[in-house]
Each structure stands twice: as C-alpha cells, then as structure tokens.
C-alpha cells in the first residue's frame, strides 16, 4: 500500500468525522460510557475474587473443647484431629493463652477482663487449617461429631457472600455492557451511514473510475475504528486514574481491603477495553457498509 493512499484514507476518515461532528461526538461518548461500565464491572469482579481467595486461604476452623474434658481426653481429641488427611495443621490454644490474646487485642481496654484470671470463661480450643479451602466446610461438620467437642466455628457465610456479590456484579455488568455495546454499535453504524450518504456522489464516481471495493470502503471502516478507539481511550483514561486514586484512598481508610495492584493484570484489562472499542467501531461501520455501500 502506498503512503499517499494511506494518507488519503486517513484524510477522508477525519473529514467525515468533522463533517458529522455531533453524531461522531455522541458515538464516542456512548462507546466511552459502555466500556467504562464494562471496565469498572470487570475490576470489581476481579477484586471480589481476589478478596475471596485471600479470605479463603486464611480461613481457620476453631474447635472449642468442652469445659469438663480431662487433659487426656483433650490429647486424644488432638490425635484424632491430626490423623485426618484433610488437616494441614493443628494448634492447641489453652484457655489461658486465649485470655492473654484477648487482652492483647483489647489493648488499653484490657481492664474489662480484670479479675477473670481465676474464673476464666474461655474454653480450650484447637485452631485447624485445612489442606484445601473447599474442605473447610465438610471438615468442620466432621469435627462437630467428635467427642468432647463443644462448638465448631469458621468463616461461615463470608466467603459465600463475597462470591455471590461477584457473580451478581458479573451478570449485571455483562447485561449493561451488552445493551450499551449494542447502542454504541448502532450509533457508529448511523454515523457511518451519514458519511456514506454525504459522499454518495463521490463514491459513484470512484466506482466508475475503477476504484477497488476496498479503496471505497476503507475510509469508512477507518472512521468507525477511530470513533471506537477514541471512546475506549476515554474509558481507559477514566478507569486508570479512577482506580489509582481508589487504591491509594483505600490504603488509608480500609487497610485490610487489599485491592489488586498488579500492573500486568491492570494493563491487560485496559488493553482489552481498547481492543473492544476497536471491534465495536469496526463492527458498526461494517454494518452500515453492508447495507448502504453496495459496491
């Protein structure tokens, strides 16, 4: 392809965009908004999954021992727990140590617990980690049936709720994105249709002068792609800077909420959005070319 042919394509595409400035602006806006929603939903889902995985891996099962259990019975229980193949580690926390830890956690309010040393209400407990996260729930049920076990506790519900949220965001994001994406494609198709109509005389002349079909089509395809890319670029900028400020704000206000900061992954998301903008633009112009540019 000759350089001046390429220059010709770009010149024609930009001419058309400027000629239809309002509708061009609108289609860029709709592409930007739909990709912005998609990108935000994507980051939300990724972060929800990230948080869920973090929570899951730190889930411990606390097995509380009955108060009346004898030391021998406690040792026997520990042996039984340890013998299960699903168990990764067992740690015995005596009632005294539990009280110490509670005091430490309370910090300067530790006076609340003063005088409890003689009548420690806390039970002995085992802290158990499972080999795999999926085994936590069945393992906990197994522990409930062991002798001298009072209660079994683990992060029931939290992980499930987070997964539910992530599923919900994913579905809602996809539906919104599909609707807005269709609107964006439609608007770009309309823009291109206007361009084709504005230049139909020129197109007719080009055809009897022997221009190839792609020579006639290419400026319109390019116009759609430029519109799609402009929209996605806008979305990418907003997402990038918005996410950066969200990450740095959360670091101070909610330090335990660890968001994804892996630059490779974020770059992948942004690149995906750019690519999608390009595809939306190309698709929109191809629809119009098919219907209005019979060559």
């Amino acid at each position: 392809m000759r350089l001046n042919t390429i220059i010709y394509y770009f010149r024609e595409a930009f001419h058309s965009i400027l000629r239809n400035n309002w509708i061009s602006f609108a289609s860029v806006g709709v592409v930007a908004v739909s990709l912005l929603i998609l990108g935000s939903a994507l980051l939300l889902v990724l972060n929800a999954n990230h948080l869920a995985t973090g929570l899951e891996s730190s889930v411990e099962i606390s097995v509380f021992v009955r108060d009346k259990a004898s030391p021998a019975e406690v040792r026997d229980l520990e042996g039984r727990i340890q013998s299960l193949p699903e168990v990764a580690s067992v740690e015995f926390v005596s009632k005294e140590r539990a009280l110490e830890e509670m005091k430490r956690n309370l910090g300067d309010k530790k006076d609340l617990l003063a005088g409890l040393e003689d009548k420690n209400p806390l039970p002995d407990a085992f802290r158990v980690k499972a080999v795999e996260v999926e085994l936590v729930a069945p393992l906990a049920r197994q522990f409930e049936d062991l002798p001298q076990v009072d209660r079994v506790r683990y992060g029931q519900g939290v992980v499930e709720k987070l997964m539910d949220l992530s599923r919900w965001v994913r579905t809602a994001g996809l539906i919104t994105m599909a609707l807005l994406g269709a609107a964006a494609i439609f608007l770009i198709a309309t823009t291109i249709r206007l361009s084709v109509f504005a230049r139909r005389r020129e197109i007719e002349i080009m055809k009897f002068l022997g221009a190839t079909n792609w020579f006639v089509r290419f400026p319109f395809l390019l116009e759609g792609i430029i519109l799609g890319l402009c929209g996605s670029l806008l979305a990418v900028l907003v997402i990038y800077f918005g996410y950066q400020s969200l990450v740095s704000n959360l670091r101070f206000s909610l330090p335990f909420m660890e968001l994804i900061t892996d630059p490779g992954l974020i770059q992948l998301v942004l690149e995906g959005i750019l690519l999608l903008g390009l595809v939306i633009g190309a698709l929109g112009s191809m629809i119009s070319m098919r219907r209005f540019l019979k060559v």
């Binding site: 010709y8 020129e202 080009m206 055809k207 009897f208 002068l209 022997g210 221009a211 079909n213 020579f215």
Partner: protein
C-alpha cells in the same frame, strides 16, 4: 474488441430493455449509438462497463467475458474504460486539477505519475490555464472537457460517452466533437450515444440505431435516424 452475442436484458421490474442484440466493435472505431429515449442505448453501454449484467447472452470486452467476471475484477475492467456523462459528474469542491488527479488517486497511482499526467492531459483538452478553477467557475463546454480529461488520463482502450453534448450549445458541441475525434485518431475506441442528428450526419461514422431494444440499423458512414 467488444462483442455482444444475442444479448437480452430484462430488468427486475419486468421491463425488457434489450432483446437479442448482437454487435461487434473493432479496435479504433468511432460509433454513434442513436435511437429514441428508452430505446436501450444506456442499457447497452451499461452492459459494457458491467454496471448491469445481461439476462441472456454474452458480453466480451478485450477478450474477457464480462458476464462471468468476478466482482473484484470489475474495477480493473473499468480502468480500461473512460466514461463521459451528459451531466459531467465532477466533484464540486475539487479543482479541475484535483478532479482529474482523482481518477489516478483512486486507482492508487504513484504521485510522481499523477503530477506528470494531469497537467499534460488538461493541456491537451485545452484547459492548461484552468488547473486551479472549481467546476462551477467553468462553462458547460469546459466542464465537459474536464470530464473527458478525467476519462482519458488513465489511457483507456475505450471511451463510452453518454450524450456528451446534451447540455451544450452547437458551437461548443462541435469543438467537443473535434476533441473526441482527436482522441479517436490516437487509437482509442469511442462509443457515443446521442440525439444530435447534425453531428452524426456531419461526421460520417458508423451509426448503430436502436429502437424498442433492438438494433434496427447498423451502417458504416451512416446518417442519423432510427427508422428501419
């Protein structure tokens, strides 16, 4: 060079434009296509540059069967044919130079060749001094010369002119015919449809007369008229 064998054209709306046309055009000929409006002159020329396909029959141009040609070959066929219209069909916002250069740009010619060919062809049609004018600043005759320059800048084998003098006064028409004759003398085949009987009678070229979609007369050095 052009061969039409038993060509019939029926449009989708049922109108039969051409029936059983057989015609041979030799290289370098100048042919007038005459006949009343609706006789099928435009349909006949449209078959040659494959704007339309025949319902039946063969169209052979420069040894190629136009009917069986694949769509992506059509642009290359059209580069061998220069088209001249009654209504000029120039781009109003481009200058004379740009209008002619456009014919070479759309076939992706080298910029160097465009810069060389366009001024020389405009000089040949007598518009060497109007390169920067816009079509609206030109007279009808001058606009038609631009159209002819655009048609020949690519050195076509054939020029199809559809009533090129239809919008011009008699004097301007005569000048234009001299230009076309000049082009014809350099070896380009010309097919011109027209209602200008005085021109046809004066030039003594081959006349093909159409009426009701049939060739009713085909004479070397003929005169105007389409009565059988």
């Amino acid at each position: 060079m052009i061969q039409l064998n038993n060509v019939t054209k029926v449009y989708a709306n049922g109108v039969k434009a051409l029936s059983d046309i057989t015609l041979r055009v030799r290289k370098g000929e100048f042919i007038f296509l005459v006949g009343p409006s609706g006789a099928g002159k435009s349909s006949l020329t449209k078959l040659m540059y494959r704007e339309e396909l025949p319902t039946r029959g063969q169209v052979i141009l420069n040894g190629r069967n136009v009917v069986r040609m694949r769509p992506r070959e059509v642009p290359h066929l059209r580069r061998k044919i220069g088209l001249v219209f009654q209504d000029f069909r120039l781009l109003p916002r481009k200058t004379v130079y740009e209008n002619v250069a456009f014919a070479l740009e759309v076939i992706a010619a080298a910029p160097r060749d465009i810069k060389k060919a366009v001024p020389s062809v405009l000089k040949m049609v007598g518009l060497g001094g109007k390169l920067g004018s816009l079509p609206e600043q030109l007279s009808g005759g001058e606009q038609q010369r631009v159209c002819i320059a655009r048609a020949i800048v690519n050195n076509p084998l054939l020029i199809i002119a559809d009533e090129p003098t239809g919008n011009l006064d008699p004097d301007t028409s005569r000048e234009l015919m001299n230009l076309l004759l000049d082009i014809n003398r350099r070896g380009t085949t010309i097919i011109m449809s027209t209602h200008a009987w005085d021109i046809v009678d004066a030039m003594k070229k081959r006349v093909v007369a159409l009426s009701g979609g049939r060739i009713v007369r085909d004479e070397e050095q003929g005169a105007y008229g389409y009565e059988a």
